[in-house]
Symmetry: C2
Subunit: 461 residues, 2 copies
């Protein structure tokens, strides 16, 4: 691209700026967002988290290292008080590397497949499971073929539906989340689930499952999208009559002590009214948890840093919360909401970033109609950032970690939404690393969050 | 992220879908965009272009290989007619690797810097240029210090302004484009220009300059952002009195024969009324020209493929044009417009993609108010794709390659706009490679373009 095109765009985009310069809020918000875009520390913080801490699965050594990183990052961002809030968290471990492959004496080199145990799953133990595999397209087919399931490994080969855009994940994740119990109900001995991702590659994507206590807990693994197709082809062809050997040493250990990491600035006018902004500390173990949810944590910390940097004194108490155990239990968010209830705290708003560090588009707004009318009137401040898409849902949620606050307090919820098309390529897999986050997009996300926090703090909701 | 969040988003996004399903246009457009998202060939085409052709600078062997790739890709996409349109293009060559470093006898190992000759620039020849360097922040400072410039190398250290978002490139590229002549006016012997990019790394970003014929043509290079800071520090410190040695063997050879590559489907009702959709073939030489502008070419080709795939018969003649020589001359677009004028063709709309394959946001719309009112009434069809941002400019342009059509024909212009924050990290540098393009984002861009082409073809403008 040569320069002519962008000069045209310059003129067009600039047309939306004058409105901004008319008010002192506009000037303050320009100062706030410029501070983030020019001097933001979110990208540096993320680098440190990814490269010196790495994965932070609940109960792991990484979780404790992450908590230390978080405390220091919050202090560096100007928190007046930075502390840990104890909570018991599940302690699931993957154990030795998983194995899945056909096992037959007919052939010299039987095919193997790239799999990862699904979080919270039980393992097979060293003896493994040896059984025939039945490929199933979806739950309807499972129900229709229930009589064939007993003693088999069920292979859910449900495809991520790329035409659903932002809802493709919610659609496909059902198989990872409840596929094991659905199959166990009919007597299956294990499940293999096609990775929940738009990517077509060799990376299995893990994540949590929830067992239904009415049925036996059976081992569960995810398989990379390429190997899902490979397995499907073998099952239709030369290995249709063969058993597959599956081994995972995953297991759930007793709950252990984890922490929400909290940084606070006391409000100047309404110190007892709290604004919570957060992301989650824990991450899956195949990589660094850069986008899930390192970016949410550094977004949140950056909001506090930038408000301090421009000398803004919040009226309400601002709390940055790095939630424990979002991925496989939600114990951190439950504890935070429970303690708030016990202390009779007043929570006026909560904001969460758990959709990655991509280009921000706006918020999911779970609140009352009256509150949303006020939020909607601020849309003009988000237009220059191209992040003015507000999705209203009366009483809806803004995210898994702030949801429990709404239950007890009717706290207005803001979930940051991003373009989100790259997120699920990396999500819960070996490529969720720092290098797949862009600095400018990350800082734009923090700028959008800070803008909303400023407005709610100044004008209430 | 666990599933709850996305289920909420699923519900919220779905809320905008019912409107779509009410009309036959909505159904046809859903079929069209689903075809692209599920079966799109743009990503595969881009892979082939990047990995089997590579760089395609005007006049280079890569350009000819690119033209062959383009002809084949257009035929594969269902063009009834695919042909070359001759045009003479500049033939600039970089020559042997550039060198820039302090040269002194005082020190054993003097520092060197990562530089690339700017396109269209003259070289120093083997003898190089040895001169003191003056760092200049901007053109104002150059004018103030004009008396110091004679015999010096001018180092423009103007920073890419990240707070300008979509207009940062247009702001900073002035120094690359006309910095050489501005300095030559005052007697400078060469210029070094800080790379026009938001990235902070070791990759110099090339691109074109335009010499002003009133002043001597002097050598010009870009320097990576990290090395710009390094050079600045040396100039303020231990090398403030030293000469810098600069060598580039760039030169402009005589013009040579290039081609616009064109694929066509004849219109069923208005065969003499033409819709042009295009990107440009040529690319800078440090990498593969994946995002600039491989993505624009495969976007355009995909529009034709998808319209064919769903069995849509266009009323107007659809022409996909892979323009020659956008980067350093614009000879391809000039030729296309000139021949259209000679043949008295009627061009009702032209669309260009030259902003990379990132998540699409909408179009720059250069047209009459009446035309824009019609376009704006179609906004609802773009909402499900989150690409409903239409930037209107009365008589404004949609891009460098389609601009000349407007001059002669008042052809309505559509320039695809993307989120665009990653584009200038790679632009014109060694990292503009296939791996930095996301398949789903790329296909979304083609879906947005195809949607507009369908509507204009069906309802006119």
């Amino acid at each position: 691209m040569f320069k002519k095109y962008f000069l045209a765009v310059l003129i067009l985009f600039s047309a939306s700026l004058p409105a901004l310069s008319q008010t002192s809020d506009s000037l303050a918000l320009k100062k706030l967002t410029d501070e983030i875009l020019l001097n933001g520390k979110a990208y540096e913080n993320l680098y440190r988290l990814c490269k010196s801490v790495g994965q932070r699965l609940s109960g792991s050594a990484g979780m404790y290292k992450g908590e230390e990183w978080g405390l220091q990052a919050l202090k560096d961002a100007g928190a007046e008080k930075a502390y840990l809030q104890e909570c018991m968290v599940p302690h699931w471990v993957r154990g030795q590397k998983e194995f899945a492959g056909f096992k037959t004496k007919k052939r010299a080199a039987d095919p193997t497949f790239k799999v990862l145990a699904i979080g919270n799953s039980v393992g097979t133990g060293d003896k493994g499971v040896l059984a025939k595999v039945i490929e199933i397209a979806n739950f309807d087919e499972l129900d229709r073929r229930k009589d064939e399931v007993k003693g088999k490994i069920i292979f859910y080969n449900y495809h991520f539906n790329k035409t659903l855009l932002h809802s493709a994940y919610g659609d496909a994740v059902r198989y990872r989340g409840r596929g094991a119990s659905a199959a166990a109900k009919y007597g299956a001995v294990a499940v293999i689930v096609r990775s929940v991702t738009a990517a077509y590659d060799d990376n299995p994507h893990t994540g949590a499952l929830n067992y239904n206590d009415s049925f036996p807990k059976i081992p569960a693994v995810t398989i990379s999208t390429k190997d899902a197709d490979k397995l499907s082809n073998y099952l239709k062809g030369s290995y249709s009559e063969d058993d597959l050997f599956l081994r995972t040493n995953a297991m759930m250990l007793p709950d252990t002590l984890g922490h929400n990491v909290i940084g606070e600035i006391r409000g100047s006018e309404f110190p007892d009214e709290i604004i919570t902004i957060g992301g989650h500390m824990d991450s899956w173990d195949p990589a660094e948890g850069a986008s899930d949810d390192g970016t949410g944590m550094v977004h949140s910390i950056e909001v506090m840093r930038a408000l301090n940097a421009i000398g803004y004194k919040p009226k309400h108490t601002i709390r940055i919360v790095l939630f424990a155990n979002e991925e496989n239990g939600g114990k951190g968010s439950a504890k935070y909401a429970q303690e708030a209830l016990e202390k009779k705290e007043k929570h006026i708003m909560a904001m969460e970033s758990d959709g990655g560090g991509e280009y921000p588009r706006g918020f999911s707004c779970g609140m009352t109609k009256e509150q949303f009318a006020k939020v909607d009137s601020w849309r003009k401040y988000f237009e220059p950032l191209d992040a003015d898409k507000f999705l209203f849902s009366e009483g809806g949620g803004g995210g898994a970690d702030i949801g429990p606050l709404q239950k007890n307090f009717k706290t207005a919820q803001f979930g940051l939404n991003t373009t989100g098309q790259r997120y699920f390529d990396m999500h819960h897999s070996a490529i969720d690393v720092f290098e797949n986050v862009n600095a400018q997009e990350l800082h734009l996300g923090a700028a959008v969050m800070a803008t909303m926090v400023y407005l709610v703090d100044k004008y209430g909701l």
